[in-house]
Subunit: 251 residues, 4 copies
């Protein structure tokens, strides 16, 4: 069920605060949503820490990163991460960029990160690492123009997550909720995998299991997937922004 622009902005604000509260972003990092009515545009806060984002902060961008509606406010430098992925992947409707600590060891070494936890199945079997230096040489490591965003998106390819060398990760999902799930599960999966390696050979999720989980964790929202949204929203103080004003006692 497609959401309205207002509902999308409302959800995006909640998502910003959830990611901050769950330690996926801090002063930096951001989350966007594709415009529900114009697939050639996306919604993203002005340059502001996610924890502080409010509805009025949300700006609208073309896929090559230009603000529309003559909006002169300072945008995030790295909005091109989002635009690049939306352009490359019409099937995706939300993108997160984060520097979450748990994944970073895998972003500065050659050891591939793999899914080992059921809750992380959506990150996919293959998680490429994009090194900005390969094509762009000495940079600030920030993705600051459309060509860099497109190069990142090419490495992202048909996967769900791409690590960025010395920097963090980008994740793209079919829904905002799916993207949040991956963003929260990814660092936990990385930490557990790293610890487990000390104990001996690690049993990861199989391709068949990832496929089987798609039917459970897929796009459709149900009582199990919305449970996480309700939980995260309440924890970060956004319970009152949920439909109906937040959770009530079971009737």
């Amino acid at each position: 069920m497609k959401k309205s622009l207002d509902q999308t902005i409302n959800d995006l604000v909640i998502a910003n605060r959830i990611l901050a509260h769950e330690n996926i972003v801090d002063a930096y990092g951001h989350v966007s949503a594709r415009h529900p009515d114009r697939p050639d545009r996306f919604l993203l806060s002005r340059s502001r820490s996610p924890e502080l984002v409010e509805p009025g902060d949300i700006m609208e961008f073309t896929l090559d990163g230009h603000a529309v509606n003559d909006d002169k406010r300072a945008p995030y430098l790295e909005r091109f991460i989002h635009g690049g992925i939306y352009e490359k992947r019409p099937d995706l409707n939300s993108v997160v960029h984060s520097h979450a600590e748990g994944v970073l060891p895998f972003a500065i070494t050659e050891t591939p990160l793999i899914p080992v936890l059921h809750s992380a199945s959506e990150i996919g079997l293959t998680i490429p690492v994009w090194d900005i230096a390969e094509k762009f040489g000495y940079t600030s490591l920030l993705v600051t123009d459309a060509s860099q965003g497109r190069d990142l998106a090419t490495k992202f390819g048909q996967n769900s997550v791409v690590l960025m060398r010395g920097h963090g990760f980008a994740a793209g999902g079919q829904t905002l909720l799916q993207t949040l799930r991956m963003s929260v599960a990814l660092p936990k999966n990385a930490r557990v995998y790293l610890e487990a390696m000390r104990l001996g050979p690690v049993k990861g999720l199989s391709a068949g299991e990832l496929e089987a989980r798609k039917s459970v964790m897929g796009v459709a929202e149900n009582s199990a997937t919305l449970r996480a949204w309700e939980y995260w929203a309440c924890r970060c103080g956004c319970g009152h922004l949920l439909p109906g004003g937040g959770p009530k006692a079971g009737a």
Copy 2:
């Protein structure tokens, strides 16, 4: 001393919130209690994050996982973990299912988890790992029907804890408090054991020590065991739900 249904439900709500506050469960994971008057039934929240559970959320299930009293609310998909263990083990009256991070390295490798901390003695000397793939092939890793719950319970056997490959653990105790103790102690015990392995051979608890501790930590509630319940309840904001309205200054 057997508790009334009302008291059991009240305690179960507190237990939900304790487990959330102590980071044993998050949006997912759950805790149940066997019905105090009908051993062929158990009590478990509707599909809701434990931190938010209230008395009205508690549903009643048969051991094969059917809601009774024509209750149409969405239940947890994995209620079969609970039913399977209650069916297999008439001596147990409470079950927790959790994805606590500390135990997960032992759930994806072949290294057996053992008790090394006195506070974890109730987890037992043997902690089997159940891999749903062995019998059921490619699944979502979730325990979604009674046959899977029974297979898990068979692996659980006469132990107190079973790890679930790529997923988490289930623990069963004679009382709700005992199950909480194990659920909180298990991840700490796993983290300490993992760290200690780096230092050389590890001295675990002996069978004789586990036996000796049963007399101290057994079923009967006393000032030492209730101290943990009071502490946890106060920390998660449920002090006012304790008998007498919570802790008072020592007289």
Copy 3:
């Protein structure tokens, strides 16, 4: 400057709450002070979680662990840890017993814990590990009578800290503040030491440095050492219990 009984009890209550807030104790673990007027007695809470201790909870014990003044309230089972150390070491006036996670890897292996951080110098060069099983065989690992407390105190000897196998540690200081400092620094020192071992040979503090630090961190309270007390007390919500009602703006 000797403190009055009232002041000692007030400080002991603050110390209980500090240790809880700093994650050195949880539902279990405890802190005591020698009676300021009767060196053959010590002060310790009734059986209660340190976070909840109030002045009225403090009981008075003989060094062999008997409550005085006909006090019938349930005491901590392990009060013998405190009595044993006070009996063996007339120079010490405060004891902490804790299960803090950071030290536990060193309590279940043969690798000696050493001081590597300046803030941990008071823990001393030698930190013995006491294994209750050596003399008492299969036990609950708890120190539940005076003979066990005395055996622990013998292993403690002229040191400042003793680890307890599979259980935790006991620390004894000349003042309550010194004991708190050691209790907070010990787990941090253990974690850092454990991590550093991965990087190669570790440079610990020398005997000469420990000696030099005694003149700085010694018994006398000064602006530097009281700074920690003020900080910890404010963090755990006890600022109003400080002399003068807590910190004021600098004049």
Copy 4:
């Protein structure tokens, strides 16, 4: 744009509370600013835990560590760290001293700490370790006079950070905000580097990348760098001290 003395003191108070809230300092550790009008003086709190510092606590010191204006309040013992660096490095205007846990493994071993995260680029390619024992023998490890401060500053040299053996680190920046950024990024960078070493060879930042980042993260404050200041200030309860009374909804 040079700041006034009042603004500098206001910012310094906020910086104290930020560092406490972000776990870079606790009861100990401190942050200073060079006097905006008198480069031969610096501003630093009296001996007080950073979390509790208020404007009236800020004292003024000469570079050799003497309080001016006949200020008799107890200063930090280690103010000589600050004076030594300001004297040696006229280009720097802010200094932090911290015992943050993440860096300590590199302060007690021979393995050099290197920058591996883009957010840590300002710490520089070379991070020397100063061992007070080399020149001063058996000490308390504290930097308690001007000659020790100058020796530390000599090891600091033209770098941005120096580790202090068994103790912590000192960092110096061109602005208060730059010094905060380094202080927060340094322990995260150290933790990630330490974890990554387990996975195989680590890819650090290159000299060319450090250079490229200077243009982005340099001295000038802009919407991206001020975002961190706003975020940290709000998190530690100092939002109301920001210009204009803190963040407002985007207009």
